[in-house]
């Protein structure tokens, strides 16, 4: 049943050596294991598959609508809005890998944008102070989500669904129901939406910085290792001395702070705070993460995958508009893509036996 192993077959041992523990081996590889190992290599090149898909959709759209899709305007608008989704998706990737979720990021995005505008316009704060305060408040919201989830053991799905509603209400309350405009801070606008070298939108610079730092921390640091371990097998992680609660709370805080960063950027970009912005923003974020191949049950995923997932989600959105499909098809496509991506992911994992 087993294929010849790399070690000495047991039958080749002289009887006198049976007591010799030096002959102990555990390396017989069954055909089943070999098959799984090949699939495991596929798992590692999953990012390549997602990259190919992203490029293929791009080329397809460019060929179908050469005059509109490739115009500078469309490309820049696509990437500018993509950037805000991508920044929050970095935090969401951490949360997914730790086997948690945050559904409140869309409302949080609007609330923290409104807070930033409120502090600048109504309270007369300097914009850098208001920006730091909004990011800090985002971190506190994440801390609250994390503590309620881990200490009181309420599923994060429920905690953050509640917060989705609470934060939207707070956004309306702080703003009085109307957009807070009139920020008039040119430096703030330049830093959040200007063009670097007159070409690259600032949002993209913020996105790339967030992704590079977030990707490095996740892949290379002890904290990143513990995020993976916590989401894969919390009991094993805890038995190995990892404080899994603290790890999860840290992932919530990170997501909250990045939601604050995205809220600050959109405020600087548009020079206002709109309490009804970011509707279904959380779906865009979740779509980016799951299309990017991160396991929504925890334990695996990557920031590179999320970057590519955000690109595909943005392409689909942009493509539907350009192909004249109508604005109402976007949420339909978005939801269908989330379900399909998870279906594909789950199917691959089941076949791998992982």
């Amino acid at each position: 049943m087993t294929i010849p192993s790399q070690s000495q077959p047991e039958s080749a041992e002289a009887p006198a050596q049976i007591e010799d523990l030096g002959s102990l081996t555990l390396d017989e590889i069954s055909p089943e294991t070999l098959r799984r190992m090949r699939l495991s290599q596929l798992l590692r090149v999953r990012e390549i598959g997602i990259f190919v898909a992203a490029v293929a959709i791009f080329v397809l759209l460019a060929l179908m609508r050469p005059n509109t899709f490739l115009t500078e305007f469309n490309l820049l608008n696509l990437v500018r809005s993509l950037a805000l989704v991508g920044i929050v998706a970095v935090g969401m990737t951490y949360l997914f890998i730790s086997a948690e979720i945050d559904l409140s990021v869309g409302s949080g995005f609007a609330f923290l944008s409104v807070v930033t505008a409120y502090l600048i316009v109504r309270q007369g704060w300097d914009w850098p102070v208001a920006a730091v305060a909004a990011v800090g408040l985002g971190a506190l919201i994440g801390l609250f989500n994390g503590i309620v989830t881990t200490v009181f053991r309420i599923p994060s799905f429920i905690v953050t669904l509640g917060m989705l509603s609470v934060l939207r209400g707070l956004a309306l309350m702080v703003s009085g129901g109307n957009t807070i405009s009139g920020i008039k801070a040119p430096a703030f606008q330049t830093l959040t939406s200007g063009e670097v070298f007159g070409l690259i939108p600032a949002q993209i610079v913020w996105l790339l910085a967030t992704m590079m730092i977030g990707g490095w921390v996740l892949a290379k640091t002890r904290f990143g290792y513990h995020v993976y371990a916590t989401g894969d097998n919390a009991a094993a992680a805890a038995n190995a001395g990892i404080n899994t609660r603290r790890v999860k709370v840290a992932c919530f805080v990170l997501t909250g702070a990045l939601t604050g960063l995205a809220g600050v950027i959109v405020t600087g970009w548009l020079q206002n705070g709109n309490p009804i912005t970011g509707q279904a923003f959380e779906l865009d974020v979740i779509a980016a993460v799951v299309i990017g191949g991160t396991n929504l049950f925890g334990g695996s995923g990557s920031i590179l995958g999320t970057f590519l997932g955000a690109a595909i989600a943005g392409e689909i959105r942009s493509g539907l508009v350009l192909l004249g499909a109508g604005i109402e098809t976007i949420p339909i496509a978005q939801g269908a893509v989330i379900i399909l991506a998870v279906l594909l992911d789950v199917t691959i994992r089941r076949r791998q036996g992982l």
Binding site: L24, L26, I29, A229, L354
Partner: protein, 262 residues
Amino acid sequence: MESGRDDAVPAMNGTPPLLEARGISKAFLHVQALDNVDFRVDPGEVVALVGDNGAGKSTLMKTLCGAYQPDAGSIVFDGRPVTLRSQRDAIALGIAVVYQDLALVDHRDVASNVFLGREPTRGAAVDKPRMVREAREVLNNLKVTIPSVQTLVGLLSGGQRQAVAIARAVHQGGRLIFMDEPTAALGVREQAKVLRLIEDLRSRGTAVVVVSHNLQHVFSIADRIVVLRGGQNAGERIKAETTPEDIVRLIVGADRIVPAGA
């Protein structure tokens, strides 16, 4: 009542015990899981801890590795009284545990699992080359061959997984390793290999406590067998001086039912 202590087997050659627990009691709400239990492990000894379901084996193991705090009793490790507030405390002393199913992270590689929770760093980043090197070293020392220490653990066989879990315990500097049902989920061939791995640990001077239901395995590897029943010491035997029937009697308590001299 005190029969557990009457027939306790004295330490051989007066060697000081590696671990000696006395009068350990632990209750969960109204359930007295452990009631005044004594337990001793000598250096380089393989002790089997047996008993029926609910006899207190797991509770005793978890108490001695810092996962539970006892309500009463004392623990002396390596001649010094110790208080184990957490598993970290136990690991720092050299007491490691290999849990049955709760030890490994499937989507991470062998090296990451051997170092789980104790990843070495170089600057701010995890020192992966060192992890790969040392994981390979500790597996080689245990005579365990795994195709690559960068294979995902979820792709390994049951025996290989158990070997990785044991390798972690050894790499933690474990001088005393508790193993919870180390052969329970394995095929026959792999069971034999894990038993030989335990013998190998003993020959290297590591003390091992095996919690097991499988008396055949207990008899094939243990030097001494400690029986718990209803949260109390039910008896203790040197393997060479007992029989499986004798141990079964201690486990089920038949010695109390059958009158002496009947």
